[in-house]
Amino acid sequence: MSDLSHIRNFAIIAHIDHGKSTLADRLIQVCGGLTDREMKEQVLDSMDLERERGITIKAQTVRLDYTAKDGKTYQLNLMDTPGHVDFAYEVSRSLAACEGSLLIVDASQGVEAQTLANVYQSIEMDHEIIPVLNKIDLPAAEPDRVKEQIEDVVGIDATDAVEISAKTGLNIESVLEAIVTRLPAPEGDTTAPLKAMLVDSWYDPYLGVIILVRVKEGTLKKGAKIRMMQTGATHPVDRVGVFSPKMKDTGVLSAGEMGYITAGIKSVADCNVGDTITEDGRPADKALPGFKPSIPVVFCGLFPVDASDFEHLRDSLSKLRLNDSSFEYTPESSAALGFGFRCGFLGLLHMEIIQERLDREFDLDLITTAPSVVYKMHMTDGSMLELHNPADMPDVMKIDYIEEPWVKATIMVPDEFLGPILQLCTERRGIQLDLTYAGNRAMAVYKLPLNEIVFDFYDRLKSISKGYASFDYEIDEYSESDLVKVGILVNAEPVDALAFIAHRSQAEFRGRAICSRLKDLIPRHLFKVPIQAAIGGKVIARETIPAMRKDVTAKCYGGDVSRKRKLLDKQKEGKKRMRQFGKVEIPQTAFINALKMEQN
């Protein structure tokens, strides 16, 4: 064993807005990682989108050099972790690269559901956890109550919680001291055969793929020939270094350290997260325990508004995938929306982020179909097929039974909102697993169908609790369910993009909701347009758009030709944004808005 007592590797766990990135910035600042001029707010969140939404998507590390009160200089490796449930997988591998965690809790808000999942993971990995109460300067801060809550809910000792204000810089040194004195140093042998964990990777247009590693054993040097133990692929190492947070080549990373390497790799798809990197000439005998790969659980169709953007969409998706191998896409065609892609995501936030990036970074105007989960269709012939798209539902006569995915959801909420939230869970077919109180906050644990979650659960939760509820879920198991496909017919023509799968008990209600929204979204035609929701041949909801009775007015003289032309040009422009269904023209906005169900 080598002496690694000067190293500390730690992760930061926090709920969105509890101040994780601000604290990270402060730590960097105190340790002199960046000059004041270089300090940009929340330097760690490098993507604009991350900064804007206050969330972290990719794992990031920073090496800090801290001279502690004992006079020794320590190498602190900070690992920033995603805070959202969709990226739980990224969290787990980030935590696996560390020996300890800081648990940041807003002293005025208390522990939130999303924090819990991460902190439990951290406990499972035997991390030493330092509770940090942030925003202590706020008048609403209640440190004692929050400490009590941490002890009750998380189950760790919060007596020595560090009370800080990342915003004002209050007590930041105490955090650094706690890291040095309370977290364990890593263990490892710098002379053993190389074992480095592949924590994350991303694509840089200049450098190719950058791999984030945690060296567990041995030493990783520039020029060495490395081997990926899962794939067997070998690469010569171009660059080795650390983030300070700027990239700084060190040429070497030894056991206990974190940093980056580049090795002329073209695609992140070639870098399996959790893989073990070893030296080709002197391989380790056994790989590190890997991770389960993350599997997309939420699917939706993405279609370009302008059909000629299809190739652009394909290119853009493949570029995004260079950097995020967790989403998948396959070509799809829809009678309603033309050619597009069926895309799978880790969750709803992940889906939103990809959509937003396509919109912003690639300037794509997209229509998104309603998110759907993966159903398992057990067929009468004994085969099983996974259904990613309601439109592909096989003939019901050939289906023996259908299974749907369930999740275990944790909801934390001030008790005044508890009643309606429990009611919501029941309406959404939830099964209560646990209900506990800590102070005036309740924690409800439910088993819920993922289908209900992707429908509008989170929006309803937010509105019922006026935004005070926090919510997290983990994928649980598949189980059999009485599910039906609800088709939507406009003027007797089925509109594939609007079909959805729902539990039989919800089918009518949702069918009615979508019909009534479509009634307002489809402009009147020269004839009346019936809108129906149907299960197979049985109509379960119906609305009718009355025919346009009169649209002509006024005089039309010579000079008015140009005025009439303007009207016609406007109509033609509108027509381009319509999709033709039999005789009916449906505006593209109708697809988008009919599928946004939160307002029903």
Binding site: L526, K550, D551, V552, A554, K555, G558, G559, V561, K572
Partner: protein
């Protein structure tokens, strides 16, 4: 090279007089209220601009069928101006024997003596801006005249001119269909089976006082069902009185249609002179869309400096031309004449319109498609904007004039 072959759609001259005594709150036409008008300069400028366009149009094959003095309030023109313009027009083109010369007049902005002077100048048709036969409605519409003055002006016009037209505005806020029926009957009684009626539904246009009032919620336009009832009352009463509709808003005893407006609706050529006037003129085989400067003073100085105040003179693409023919032609009860459409747009109508929409709309009874013409039925006329939008191909490229890809 301007051997324009003129068809039965005629060839017209439009003269815009932009001045009014006051601005009506619903009007978004190019009208201006000024203290003083230099009649001499305007007369001269109108004649100069007319000469400019006459040169552009060429004389060959140009048989002038109508002249229309519109505005603004052209009855505020000096009769001498009207006379001078008509004299020029007659010498610049070959006038038809039955040349129609219309002048718009506002009750209160003209008296019997002035009517006589206009008649002597060559006006043979007066279009009188009566707008309503109800004093409260006239006040709401911001008109300067009352019912009595309107009736007096009508009587004078009818006694002095061979043809008279009455303008009325209906579908006013709270307009009861039965009240409208009575008002319309009074107008039809006065016409006694002769002449012409322009019956416009009140529309609220941006940039007018009414737009602000309406936007603020001072009053509301009739709901769709009421508007439909008002429309039906209009069709019934005019047909009963022998002046059926021949265009969306126009009604006449057969043979007494406004020939000038028929030029627009049938896609004929017309010259537009005066501030803000529009024109359509085929030059060297290419139809062109022209527009004059709107602001009267600016128009005047431009004409005086350059001989015309044209701000736009764009060739119309083949598809654009075809669209206009459809847009204007379907407003007529007679519909779009297919041979004329082919002759003027260079392509057959059947190949231009969306075939599927045509079949659907015909089947729905909104269109009538015969070998000779395409026309909107009575039901179709009510939803004409929708019909036209459905018929016009979206990808009919207005620029290159190539046939649309379907």
């Amino acid at each position: 090279m301007t051997d324009h072959i003129q068809g039965d759609e005629g060839f017209g001259l439009y003269v815009h007089w932009p001045f009014c005594l006051s601005k009506c709150p619903y009007c978004d036409f190019n009208s201006h209220v000024v203290d003083r008008v230099d009649h001499g300069r305007f007369r001269a400028a109108l004649r100069v601009e007319l000469a400019h366009y006459a040169a552009m149009a060429g004389r060959e094959g140009r048989r002038l069928t109508s002249v229309f003095f519109g505005g603004g309030t052209p009855s505020l023109m000096e009769p001498g101006t009207v006379a001078a313009i008509l004299e020029d027009a007659r010498s610049l083109f070959t006038p038809a024997n039955d040349l129609e010369v219309t002048l718009e007049a506002n009750p209160g902005a003209v008296d019997r003596a002035k009517f006589e002077d206009f008649r002597d100048a060559g006006v043979n048709r007066v279009s009188l801006g009566v707008q309503a036969l109800d004093d409260a409605a006239l006040a709401f519409l911001g008109r300067r005249h009352d019912r009595a003055e309107a009736l007096a002006a009508l009587e004078a016009a009818q006694s002095l001119f061979p043809r008279t037209s009455i303008d009325l505005i209906y579908a006013r806020p709270g307009h009861d269909p039965e009240a409208w029926r009575q008002e319309l009957r009074q107008a039809l009684d006065i016409l006694a089976g002769h002449g012409h009626l322009s019956l416009y539904q009140l529309t609220v246009e941006q940039g007018t006082k009414f737009y602000l009032d309406w936007h603020r919620g001072d009053w509301r336009l009739p709901e769709e069902d009421d508007a439909v009832s008002l429309w039906h009352v209009t069709q019934e009463e005019t047909a009963r009185a022998g002046l059926p509709s021949y265009e969306v808003s126009n009604h006449a005893r057969p043979g007494e249609e406004c020939r000038h407006n028929l030029v627009y609706w049938r896609g004929g050529d017309y010259i537009g002179v005066g501030p803000g006037a529009h024109g359509r003129l085929t030059v060297g085989g290419t139809p062109r869309a022209t527009r004059q400067h709107r602001a009267p003073e600016r128009w005047l100085s431009q004409v005086e400096a350059h001989g015309h105040a044209t701000t736009r003179d764009d060739p119309l693409g083949q598809a654009e031309r075809a669209e206009e023919l459809l847009l204007m032609g379907l407003r007529l009860t007679e519909g779009v004449d297919k041979m004329r459409f082919h002759r003027l747009s260079g392509r057959p109508l059947d190949g231009f319109v969306d075939a599927r929409a045509l079949a659907d709309l015909t089947e729905m009874g909104l269109l009538e498609d015969t070998p000779a013409a395409l026309r909107a039925t009575a039901d179709g006329m009510l939803v004409l904007n929708g019909l036209i939008a459905a018929l016009v191909p979206v990808d009919g490229d207005a620029e290159d004039g190539s046939p649309p890809g379907r």
